[in-house]
């Protein structure tokens, strides 16, 4: 088959960090080429380079054998590259037709010849089986149809190469089947597709060839017929088990929290829980592994009282939880390191000091007469003590929390959540965006809490982190528990397969 695109030795550096390092990718005419990799493996960066959003630090892109420089998305479109983003870029108040002709540079003159355009679009949609209703506003059509509009838009602008970024993420199973039919039609008409997905099932079903990225580098390119799910999963996770720094516990104490068949919005595959049963014992760290957006956020919010489950039973320290409020869980000494520290964890416009005592100003330690009088000096002294103990680096404890670096912000939250000696700690992506030193500090702190008898529920998209600290590993996929594995000598291949939904 004829080669359409070749990306050679693509390197993209952000500061000192390599997002892509010496990546090679070639896409042939009429093939579905899958990019497979974990979060942060460099897939999005590579596609942004291809689409002209980033300029590569090194490397060359060839289209039809000729080297090209792609300096903007407009130029990428001109060269016949179409991108369907995971989050659709449609103007919701406009009709399908208006969205498709929007930004079309071929229009000459002021007026749009609607009838001619419509005819062209209808021809395209019939040819590729992209069934859409042109006169409906975007808000009135289903997600699957919106995706077809995005594809049609790209084709209408003359795309020969389509990049589909996790196209199945928002779709129902039937819609996914429909999408695959369309993809087959497109390739049989000579179009090429770069398909980005985490889901092994789909990848094996639709791809012709598969390129695996790991930590910003190409691992290899394989033919679909010559590989298996196990092999792909291993290549994607791609690591020999590095021994953990920490000793793993095998016999935890009695359950701090126990979930039994908990449902939350269970028809939603990516933001719901479907029959989840799980326990966290005293003195153990349970790591939830899984690709982001498989119900982990909802799990964290159920066990901290932010969300009320639709069905099932939650027991906290042996007693049944009847009412789900964050305060109720806090009173049962459940601590929470939320996934978004700026949005959920900190009051950015308040000082470091205020954020440290945020939860405890009602206690007699910090206020007299049932909160009627804040003991400012006690608060200040305590905050200074915590600043030292948790090594929070700021110009003063009066500095606004939003002006601190991510690592120091996280330390504020750690100081607040761990100093009360919780019975259960729910930590969601606790080291996201932190450097190695800060990450190590967070891990040490969690292990310390565990050894004190605290149960820890760790949710992370960073598989290394899960392997490093978890005593038990639970894999979640589409809101369901796919398997429970020991954290001591974890079976990596099985875990990665479970993460991919097999």
């Amino acid at each position: 088959m004829e080669e359409l695109l070749r990306m050679e030795h693509i390197t993209k550096k952000f500061g000192d960090v390599y997002a892509n390092r010496n990546i090679n990718l070639d896409v042939r005419k009429g093939e579905v080429h899958t990019l497979l990799g974990e979060n942060g493996a460099g897939k999005s960066t590579l596609m942004n380079v291809l689409f002209g959003l980033y300029q590569p630090t090194e490397g060359t892109i060839y289209l039809h054998g000729k080297p090209v420089r792609i300096e903007s998305p407009a130029q990428a479109v001109k060269l016949g590259i179409g991108m369907v983003h995971q989050h659709f870029m449609l103007v919701e108040a406009m009709t399908v037709f208006e969205n498709i002709i929007l930004g079309d540079r071929n229009t000459k003159g002021i007026f749009i010849n609607h009838d001619a355009r419509k005819k062209e679009i209808l021809e395209l949609s019939e040819r590729y089986g992209l069934d859409v209703e042109l006169d409906k506003p975007i808000t009135d059509i289903a997600v699957g149809a919106q995706q077809r509009v995005e594809i049609l838009k790209a084709l209408y602008r003359g795309a020969d190469l389509l990049v589909l970024d996790e196209p199945s993420a928002a779709l129902t199973d039937q819609e996914v089947e429909g999408l695959f039919d369309i993809m087959h039609k497109l390739t049989s008409e000579g179009k090429s597709i770069i398909f980005i997905s985490h889901k092994m099932r789909e990848v094996l079903h639709i791809s012709d060839r598969i390129t695996i990225l790991r930590a910003g580098e190409t691992v290899c390119t394989l033919n679909r017929d010559e590989t298996t799910g196990e092999e792909l999963a291993n290549l994607m996770i791609g690591r020999e088990l590095t021994p953990s720094h920490y000793e793993k516990i095998e016999n935890p104490g009695e359950a701090v929290v126990a979930l039994e068949n908990v449902d939350y919005d269970k028809t939603s595959k990516h933001n719901g829980l479907n029959g989840v049963s799980l326990t966290v014992g005293r003195g153990e760290i349970v790591g939830i592994a899984g690709v982001d957006g498989n119900g982990q956020s909802q799990l964290a919010q159920v066990v901290t009282g932010v969300l009320t489950p639709d069905a099932g039973r939650v027991d906290l320290k042996g007693s049944h939880v009847a009412q789900f409020t964050p305060n109720g869980f806090i009173l049962e000494s459940v601590s929470h390191i939320p996934e978004d520290r700026n949005k959920m964890g900190l009051i950015g416009n308040m000082s470091v000091r205020d954020n440290i005592v945020l939860k405890s100003t009602d206690t007699p330690e910090f206020s007299a007469a049932h909160g009627l009088f804040l003991k400012k000096k006690a608060i200040r002294d305590y905050a200074l003590k915590m600043q030292e103990k948790y090594d929070i680096r700021c110009s003063s404890i009066d500095q606004e929390a939003r002006n601190l670096s991510g690592g120091n912000q996280q330390k504020i939250i750690l100081a607040r959540e761990l100093e009360g000696k919780p019975d259960l700690l729910v930590a969601v992506h606790p080291t996201r965006g932190l450097d190695i030193g800060a990450t190590r500090f967070v891990h040490d702190t969690m292990i310390e809490a565990r050894d004190r008898g605290c149960g820890v529920l760790l949710i992370s998209a960073d598989f290394d982190e899960i392997l490093e600290v978890s005593d038990r590993i639970v894999v979640m996929f589409e809101g369901q528990v796919m398997g429970v594995f020991s954290g001591k000598n974890p079976p990596i291949a099985d875990i990665s397969l479970a993460m991919a939904g097999k």
């Binding site: 929470h336 205020d354 100003t361 909160g371 009088f373």
Partner: protein, 355 residues
């Protein structure tokens, strides 16, 4: 860092006031008056004699209440634009109690003030309940409720409690009126406003619940995750801010207004919002700003009589102060501006270290 922030936040309104006066002076000069004399007569009109000071403080009193009302709600992150309606409901209830129940004197005053605060609180709570339990926009609801309150007052002074042929209610009996502060025109209502301002300040900055309320106002999601009952705080802030405005209406009626008439209270709510914003939601600053605006209003009459500069020039200055402050506060939040400030701050620190 904190200090530079404070200085900047204090400088913005001061610079805005100066700029507004400069432009005001240009307008005065264009009108053929001597700006210096005009400003002097403006000052004399507002603070020149004890009598004028009294007038200024009495004009400031209702504005202080509505400004505090806005401060309190905004600190909790909800936009109560219904200060005027809540103010009027307080005045209406006090008018009915003081003229219809047959009680007079101190018991009547206390009853009026309590009932006025309650009425304002309940009136604001309507917007609060619709916001919290039905997700409605509290700004629109509270503005609409202003019209309802104004028209309700209309029914009272034109028909139910009409005083003879004039479209106004009967006056509050002499014994139920608030006493004046010595010879001043200002009454104990002004003292009450100061006390409420101090209480609001104390609550917001020195109590645990006030601290939590501010946290809710700055980041509702984080407040919820940290276990605060966000809905309760929102409802409470509506009730309290409405009660402050209602108390203001009640005190103003018993202190200076005495009867409900056409146009009473008009503009107080939005004036209060503007003043709260200039004061950057600080209750003590709000009191100062309210007195400043009242002075501009009171002084402008003297200015017109003495120099022929129309009072509308004072209105222009007031409007410019609001525009400049709001624009200035938006400006100092820009990252470019922050960068300049930070650079200056580091430089001054380095200089100090070098010395």
């Amino acid at each position: 860092m904190k200090h530079t922030n404070r200085i900047v936040n204090l400088l913005v309104p001061i610079v805005s006031v100066l700029l507004s006066f400069v432009i005001g002076c240009i307008i005065m000069a264009a009108l053929g008056a001597n700006p210096a004399t005009a400003l002097q007569s403006l000052w004399i009109g507002a603070f020149g004699t004890m009598r004028n000071v009294g007038t200024t403080l009495s004009r400031a009193t209702p504005l202080i209440f509505t400004a505090l009302c806005a401060c309190f709600a905004y600190r909790c992150g909800v936009f109560n634009l219904g200060g005027e309606g809540q103010f009027l409901m307080g005045a209406i209830v006090s008018c009915v109690i003081s003229t219809q129940l047959g009680i007079t004197g101190l018991p009547a005053i206390i009853l009026c003030l309590i009932a006025g605060a309650l009425a304002g609180g309940v009136w604001a709570l309507i917007a609060g309940v619709l916001r919290v339990f039905r997700g409605q926009n509290e700004m629109i609801i509270s503005i609409m409720l202003n019209y309802v309150a104004t028209l309700f007052m209309g029914v009272i002074y034109t028909s139910w409690l009409r005083d003879g042929s004039v479209p106004q209610t009967v006056a509050v009996p002499d014994e139920t009126q608030l006493s004046r502060l010595g010879d001043l025109r200002a009454t104990t209502a002004f003292i009450l406003a100061l006390v409420v301002g101090l209480l609001v300040y104390y609550f917001l900055f020195h109590t645990s619940k006030g601290f939590q309320l501010r946290a809710v106002g700055l980041n509702m999601t984080a407040a919820q995750f940290n276990g605060f009952a966000v809905k309760k705080f929102i409802l409470m802030s509506f009730i309290v801010s409405g009660a402050i405005a209602g108390l203001g209406g009640s005190a103003d009626l018993l202190g200076t207004q005495f009867r409900l008439i056409n146009g009473y209270g008009s503009g107080y709510g939005f004036d209060g919002v503007a003043m709260a914003l200039i004061a950057q939601l600080h209750p003590i600053a709000a009191i100062v700003v309210a007195i400043f605006f009242a002075a501009l209003r009171v002084g402008s009459t003297t200015m017109q009589a003495a120099t022929g500069v129309p009072t509308s020039v004072s209105d222009i200055i007031q409007a410019l102060v609001i525009v400049f402050t709001v624009a200035g506060l938006a400006m100092v939040k820009l990252p470019q501006f922050r960068a300049v400030i930070d650079r200056m701050a580091t430089k001054s620190v380095q200089k100090k270290e070098a010395v």
